[in-house]
Structure formats: structure tokens, C-alpha cells
């Protein structure tokens, strides 16, 4: 049973009227990994999570969470999952403490107050203030505490750091790493590429309801486009780098300075430059954001072409 993936979907489809939110989503998230799920608004991220929790029913395909079918055994799935919705709404008149007490009662267990207090302290959250008097960030912290406090096997987090200040964001990322270290699987959606890059071992990019890329985060970034500025000691022919594989000359400001775009590995460029007197080489490190934008910009171009 524990060999089954934490999340497995096959040809998952879901439509809202004319809008196809999921178009045959095939997704595998292995146990014990931190998986970042990327996509712009409306790409299908939240729909995926809501299908996994049986909050909505897919039109077609299959889904499995921790080896269980969410439609056949929703209670079994939810008892092992911690969930943070993208749009968190809490009862205004209750305090964080009362919310935790109620949600724990739904799990038929008492609140692990020691754990809750530790989490609240780390997130700088006062559990005794009514929700109506809390900022968006502090409400988000209650959402995080309720998702984490019962130490679930799988965390489904939709924009976990939304509304949080940078210091608390870092603490949240640390909590996710600790959850993974304790054996949990973390599946989270985010728009903040830097945090996905910081914690996710693998990322999936969803576009218009389909998974267009799944890869190790580092490998994905390595495959991304790099920009390189080269300064030569003396003038070099304008076309000297034209034939280097994977290299596109972006600008040649003067005979001594050139800016190029490199797709994939840098090896060919380095070897080509070895034949010239180079005084300075500046490389801009590609980020996950570059990869993400590349997918969506190419999508826009193809949409315009069609």
C-alpha cells in the first residue's frame, strides 16, 4: 500500500459548463516528496486539489490519494490529509483556538495543544484573538496551523504563503521541509516561483487543464535559457558566435561586447569562447520563473498564430 504514489491521477477531466478546467490530467506525486504545482489563475490547480478531496466530482478519469479513491472513501482520504484552501474563510466570531477545537472535533480527536502552540509561536500567531480582528496574513496562519497540527501524511496546500510577510514565509517553507523530513508528502500550489524553487524537489506546470511539464526543479532550471554577456579583449567578428549550437546573439553593442542567449547547457559556448581573448563573462542565473514564463509566452504566441 505504501508503494502507491501519494497522488495519482489518470486522464482526469472536469468541466464547468463550457469551461474545461481539467483536460485529461495525468499526475504522479511520489510519497515523501515536496511537489510544486505551478500555473496561472484558471489553469486548473485548485480544481485538481478539490477533486482529490472529493469536494467536486471529476467528469472522467481516475484519482487516487494515498492509495485511496477519494470518491469511494472520502473520509479515509481526508483523515490522512491536511488541507489549506486558496481562499481561506473562517468563522468571524471564533478565535483561532475555538476553530482548532472544532476542526479537531471533526477529526474525533482532541487538539494537540502543545503542537498547536509551537506552530502558533513559530508563525507569530495569537490564538485568542477573534478572526474578525485578524489580518489576512494572520487568518492564513490559522489555516496553516490547522493543516499541519495533526501531522498528516499528505499536505495539500493552495498558496500557503499568501498574505504572509517574508519572515513568516521563510518559516512556512521551513515547516514544509520539516514535514517532509517527518515522512509527509507536500503538494502545494504557488505563484511565488522563488519559494517553489527553494523547497520543491519536483515541479509540475499545468496549462489549460493539462500537465505540460513535470521535472526535477534543478533539472528544469538547468534546461532554461541563460543570458550571457561577454567582453572581449579586442574586437571580434560580428558573426563569430553565429554557428554555436544553442546560442543566439541578442546584441552586439560594439566589436568587444556581445550578449547571447543560451538554451540548455553552456558547454558549446564555453568551447567557442576559448578561441578568443575574453576579459569578462557575466551569466544571469535562470530561475523557475523564467521557465514558467517561457511556457506561457510560447503558449500566447501559439494562440496568436492560430
Amino acid at each position: 500500500m505504501t508503494n502507491t504514489p501519494a497522488i495519482l491521477t489518470r486522464s482526469l477531466t472536469k468541466s464547468y459548463g463550457q469551461v474545461e478546467a481539467l483536460r485529461g490530467l495525468d499526475l504522479v506525486v511520489q510519497r515523501g516528496e515536496i511537489f510544486g504545482f505551478l500555473g496561472p489563475n484558471g489553469a486548473g490547480k485548485t480544481t485538481t486539489i478539490r477533486c482529490l478531496l472529493d469536494l467536486i466530482r471529476p467528469d472522467g478519469g481516475t484519482a487516487s490519494v494515498l492509495g485511496l479513491d477519494p470518491q469511494a472513501d472520502p473520509v479515509g482520504v481526508r483523515s490522512r490529509v491536511g488541507y489549506l484552501p486558496g481562499e481561506l474563510h473562517l468563522e468571524d466570531n471564533l478565535t483561532g483556538r475555538k476553530i482548532l477545537r472544532y476542526l479537531s472535533a471533526l477529526r474525533s480527536r482532541a487538539v494537540d495543544w502543545d503542537g498547536a502552540h509551537v506552530l502558533a509561536e513559530r508563525l507569530r500567531l495569537d490564538l485568542d484573538i477573534p478572526v474578525k480582528n485578524l489580518s489576512k496574513g494572520n487568518k492564513q496562519k490559522i489555516g496553516l496551523v490547522q493543516a499541519l497540527v495533526h501531522k498528516p501524511e499528505l499536505l495539500l496546500l493552495d498558496e500557503p504563503t499568501s498574505g504572509l510577510d517574508p519572515l513568516v514565509q521563510q518559516e512556512v517553507l521551513a515547516l514544509l521541509r520539516e514535514a517532509k523530513a517527518d515522512g509527509a508528502t507536500v503538494f502545494f500550489c504557488s505563484h511565488i516561483m522563488s519559494e517553489v524553487e527553494a523547497v520543491a524537489e519536483r515541479v509540475g506546470i499545468i496549462r489549460r487543464g493539462q500537465l505540460v511539464e513535470v521535472a526535477d526543479t534543478a533539472a528544469l532550471i538547468d534546461r532554461a535559457v541563460h543570458h550571457v554577456k561577454v567582453r572581449f579583449q579586442s574586437a571580434v567578428d560580428d558573426h563569430a558566435l553565429d554557428d554555436v549550437p544553442g546560442v543566439t546573439v541578442l546584441s552586439h553593442e560594439d566589436p568587444q561586447n556581445v550578449t547571447v542567449k543560451v538554451e540548455g547547457e553552456m558547454d558549446a559556448l564555453i568551447k567557442a569562447l576559448a578561441g578568443f581573448p575574453v576579459t569578462r563573462l557575466e551569466t544571469t542565473r535562470a530561475s523557475l520563473e523564467d521557465v514558467f514564463l517561457a511556457y506561457y509566452q510560447s503558449d500566447e504566441v501559439s494562440a496568436e498564430d492560430s
Binding site: S15, T46, I56, R57, R78, E87, E91, L103, L106
Partner: protein, 285 residues
């Protein structure tokens, strides 16, 4: 289900106190008036005779207005309508308010089945309605010792059972409509409208017999009022409770099967379009 029930009942506590005390106070004020009625019987009858006959017919005629059941009938005739407001608002909000606000997502992400959530909340709604009516009943019973009504506490409970059955019918209808219509507000407005229509149709059918078949379609027609102190019409009571069970079962079935809306979404439109969309795809494919 126990946690859901207790938590929902806790949310009802303010309304139980407010509605219970208000309606109980009504009983404390109304019941002692029966003695005044008897003391001034001639003037009362004269006053009643001066009313337009249509008005008296609307409220069920004048024949036994001075009898205990006739007096109670007059005082309790609007009770299902008044408490019906609570029932319609509470029934329509039982799940839809949390769903529209997005809170249901978080609750249903916990290990509680939809059926348990539905059952727990419905049970809390029924318990809250019973609690309000119990306080109200006490308000009607406490002055009985000094009253010439000659009605026991047990007898006084019978009209309240009839009120309960009518109110539950409207509350569960509102719950069902909240599971079918695109917003809680529409469900409350529709069921509230039907409740008011039932009240007026029932009264107007005393003036125009052609309206009687329509009045019989709505629960208010089966409210026994003061006449219940001499024995409940079990067929009516059973019919109303059966209607509540049917409305509840349909609402539960619908809740079990449908998608939980993201806050602010309408369900009917989305489900309806999704159905048409699937139908079109299956026809074309």
C-alpha cells in the same frame, strides 16, 4: 456527526434565546386575556359582529371565538408564520451560507462525510426549533393556573406539535431549495413566499371555495391551531412530518451528489450547463 450537531446547535443558541423568549412573552401576555374576554363577553361579541364578515371568515369565522380552542386558534393562527420566518432563514442557511462564504471547503476537507455533516446540521436545526417552541409553550403554560381556559399543560403542547410540523415542513423545504437554487437568498425568498401564500390561500379559501384545492397543496392548510387541544389530527401531523422527511431526504441526496461551490459560485447554472455540455459531447462523440 456529534461534533457537527453540537457546534451547529451552539451557533443557534442566540436565536433560540431570542425567538424563544419573544414568543414565550407572547404567551405570557395572551393567555391571561382569556379571562378578560369572558368578563367582557357581550362587548367582545358585539365588537366581533361589527367586523366585516370577510375579515372574520378569513380568520376562520366567529362561531367559537369565546371557547378555549377558538380563543387559542385566534391567538396562535400566525405562530407558524412567525416561527416560519426563523425556519425558512435557518433552513436555507443550514449549508448554503457556509458554502457561499467558502467555509464549507475547509470543513469538508476534514474526515466528516457529507451525510454526517448534513445529518448533524439538520438534527441541530430540528433541536433548535423544538427548543424555541418549548420556551414558547412554557410561556403559554405558566399563566394557565390563573386562567379560565381550563387547558392542561399537556393539552397546550398539542397545538405546538402542530406548529412544529408546519414549521419543519417549511424549514426543510428551504433547505431543499438551497441545495437546488443558485443562492441561499433565492431559496429563502421562494420558500418564504410559499409560506405566505399558504397563509393567505388558507384564509381566502374560507371566502372562495375555488381556492381550497390550491390551499390544500401548502402545509399551512394542515395547521390545526387551537382545535388541537382536543386531540391531534394524526393524519395531518403525519403528512406534514412525512413531507419534511421527503424534503430532507431529497436535500441530503442532492448535497451528497453535487459539487461543493467555491464561494460566490452559483450551483444550478453550473450544474445545468455541465449537464448540457456532457450531453452535447456524448451526442457528438
Amino acid at each position: 456527526m456529534k461534533a457537527v450537531f453540537l457546534y451547529t446547535l451552539l451557533r443557534f443558541r442566540g436565536r433560540i434565546v431570542a425567538w424563544g423568549l419573544a414568543l414565550g412573552a407572547l404567551g405570557l401576555l395572551v393567555v391571561p386575556f382569556y379571562n378578560v374576554y369572558l368578563e367582557q363577553e357581550e362587548q367582545m361579541l358585539q365588537l366581533i359582529e361589527n367586523y366585516p364578515p370577510e375579515v372574520m371568515a378569513f380568520f376562520g369565522g366567529t362561531a367559537d371565538i369565546m371557547s378555549p380552542e377558538g380563543f387559542l386558534d385566534g391567538q396562535m393562527s400566525t405562530l407558524p408564520l412567525i416561527l416560519g420566518i426563523f425556519a425558512v432563514l435557518a433552513g436555507s442557511a443550514l449549508l448554503a451560507t457556509d458554502e457561499e462564504s467558502g467555509r464549507l471547503d475547509l470543513i469538508l476537507a476534514h474526515p466528516v462525510s457529507r451525510l454526517s455533516l448534513f445529518g448533524g446540521r439538520l438534527a441541530a436545526f430540528v433541536a433548535a426549533t423544538i427548543a424555541i417552541l418549548t420556551v414558547c409553550w412554557l410561556g403559554f403554560c405558566i399563566p394557565l393556573s390563573g386562567s379560565s381556559l381550563g387547558v392542561s399543560w399537556g393539552q397546550m403542547a398539542l397545538p405546538f406539535l402542530s406548529v412544529l410540523a408546519v414549521v419543519l415542513a417549511f424549514g426543510t423545504l428551504a433547505l431543499l431549495l438551497s441545495m437546488m437554487l443558485s443562492s441561499r437568498r433565492k431559496a429563502a425568498a421562494t420558500s418564504g413566499g410559499l409560506m405566505a401564500a399558504g397563509f393567505f390561500l388558507s384564509g381566502l379559501s374560507n371566502l372562495n371555495a375555488d381556492l381550497a384545492p390550491f390551499a390544500r397543496l401548502l402545509p399551512y392548510e394542515y395547521f390545526q391551531g387551537g382545535a388541537a387541544i382536543h386531540g391531534l389530527n394524526l393524519v395531518w401531523l403525519g403528512g406534514l412530518l412525512a413531507a419534511s422527511c421527503v424534503f430532507s431526504a431529497l436535500a441530503g441526496w442532492r448535497f451528497q451528489r453535487r459539487d461543493i461551490r467555491v464561494g460566490g459560485e452559483g450551483s444550478l447554472g453550473i450544474d445545468h450547463l455541465a449537464f448540457l455540455s456532457r450531453l452535447r459531447r456524448s451526442l457528438s462523440g
